[in-house]
């Protein structure tokens, strides 16, 4: 999952090793192990369910291994099973295509992340590095929007998108996110404020203009925080449910989270298609799990990073 070695300073490690394993430390570890189990085991249970058939799930509801092992559930939610097969395995037989939702989720999250990070970086540069009248007041206004609950703006935003005739279009779904997020501006401004000015000033003496400085000096130097921000934004957008539910209810723009909710509400043959539902859940979680496997350390270290000091 995360193979990078701890970069803790050596003395600390040495000190930790010397500490004896007292009863108190054993209890502490046991409690932590319990918390880790509670955090992780449900995912294994989802995997186990997704690889089972619905019929066997009911009869072997507590066996640890997949009940009657099959990939049928994955095939079903990816639209690779014929309706007859799907019904035989406890599915609804209705057309569900998580490939499509997966594609929509990727488009939605990628566009909003790219736009929000880039435009927020531009704004953050203006807030951190340029001198202009009213700068701090405007920044405070931007920051203040973090306090407005999303439901409050969601209603008028829905009406706006409807009036623009953009309901059930990808454009309508990405518009509110693609220009900026207040958090992204705040996050990057903090970083730009602390960047050294010397290179920038030298470039300016050479006659470089702000656009060139921004693209050739500031952005490359901020690669690390930009990557962290993109990661956090992408995961947040991937998990977004409320707005896509309002604006993207039709199949061709429906994202995974909304698709999951719809899939759950179809109750075929009286009982839910549990294995299909868990397979779909796993597919929806997979991209985030992959990002986590690749960049776990970056994500973890960003939590609490921006300023509880």
């Amino acid at each position: 999952m995360n193979s990078t070695t701890s970069r803790a300073p050596l003395p600390a490690t040495a000190r930790r090793r010397r500490r004896p394993l007292t009863a108190r430390r054993m209890v502490a570890w046991a409690l932590l192990a319990l918390a880790i189990a509670v955090s992780v085991l449900p995912f294994l249970w989802v995997l186990r369910t997704a690889l089972s058939t619905n019929g066997a799930l009911a009869s072997q509801s507590a066996s640890l291994l997949p009940a009657d092992f099959t990939f049928g559930a994955f095939k079903r939610v990816l639209g690779l099973q014929s309706p007859a097969e799907a019904v035989a395995e406890g599915g609804s037989g209705a057309a569900i295509n998580f490939w499509l939702y997966l594609r929509n989720s990727i488009i939605f999250s990628s566009i909003t992340t790219a736009g929000a990070v880039f435009f927020s970086a531009m704004a953050a540069y203006a807030f951190a590095r340029l001198r202009w009248k009213g700068r701090n007041a405007v920044f405070s206004l931007f920051l203040g929007t973090m306090l407005v609950p999303p439901i409050f703006t969601a209603l008028p935003n829905f009406l706006l998108i409807k009036n623009l005739d953009l309901l059930n279009t990808m454009l309508g779904m990405v518009l509110p996110y693609v220009f900026m997020t207040p958090f992204a501006i705040f996050f990057l401004r903090q970083f730009f404020l602390n960047m050294s000015r010397e290179v920038e000033e030298a470039a300016m003496l050479d006659g470089a203009k702000h656009l060139r400085i921004f693209f050739q000096i500031v952005l490359p130097n901020a690669a690390a925080p930009l990557a962290t921000l993109a990661l956090l934004t992408f995961i947040g957008q991937w998990n977004e449910y409320f707005w896509p539910l309002l604006v993207g209810s039709q199949d061709d723009v429906r994202v995974l989270q909304v698709g999951l909710g719809v899939f759950k509400s179809q109750s075929p043959q009286g009982a839910p298609d549990w294995s299909g539902l868990m397979a779909a859940t796993l597919i929806s979680a997979l991209p985030v799990l992959a990002l986590f496997a690749a960049f776990g350390k970056r994500i973890v270290n960003s939590i609490g990073f921006s300023g509880i000091k």
Binding site: I36, M122, R129, L130, L160, F179, Q257
Partner: protein
Amino acid sequence: MTTLTKNPPAAAHKAPQRFNRGRGMAKLGDLRIAMLFILPAMIGFIAFYVVPTVRGVYLSFTEYNILGDPEWVGLDNYAAIAKDSLFWNSLAVTGQYVLMNIALQTALALGLALLMHKVAKSTLVRGTLLLPYLMSNVIAALLWFWMLDYQIGVVNQFIEWSGLSRVAFFGSEEWAIPTQALINTWRHMGYTALLIFAGLQAIPHHLYEVANLDGASPFQTFRKITLPLLRPVMVLVLVVTVIGSFQVFDTVAVTTQGGPVNATRVIQYYIYQRAFTESDFGYGSAIAVILFLILALVAFIQMKFLRGNESDLD
């Protein structure tokens, strides 16, 4: 995804003075180029934050069913809300939910943060505990909807094996809200613990060494050093988590949809129903205004009475 933030006051004012070009340009500053840099963000800010905020307040004074034009009705919506038993129910249900969710989540997160601080600072442990938070609300809801199923959910199997009777976690009025609180506690526990852990890391180590030399017991150290120095962080964590908790929607929408009866019709779900199911945008906006005011009040009270912006670290 939010990261808890507190503006370091020093940084905000340092920037302008250091960079002084002192030429004729100085009067105008970089206004023109700044406008260019800020333009895209400004479009989004005005179109999707400022205007909707104003429009939301305006809509709350109108009757608007999406066809036709909003019709000004003054305070009618608010008067109707005051007599709306479903609204008061949603307020009570949300209150119960927030209390259970925050109490449990904060206690567990504080405990976990202290454990990590004592025995395990590794990224792997922290990452594993963060995993549920990286999953969407929908996934968390469905995962537990399955595990807590009355008929064949694994949790109810265990409950039966231990000789107790099965629990209708989502199906009974008394369990529905505690179940929602548990699901969201599961999802946010590790994240909150990480925020508190970051606060613990900021407490100067030498204080513990002094306390140790003075022969303070672990409990005394916790009460006299850790808790008071952690207070500002805890207040910020509480403000952020309480505000988030009040806006619970996704897990309810995916599992119980307000039911059984009205047991899980939380405020945001009620707004959603009034506005989008019943096309009553004026009424929905009015409840949204009330929710906004409640959140502002809650944040203000917490900052004021828990003195969140004063540090004891002097």
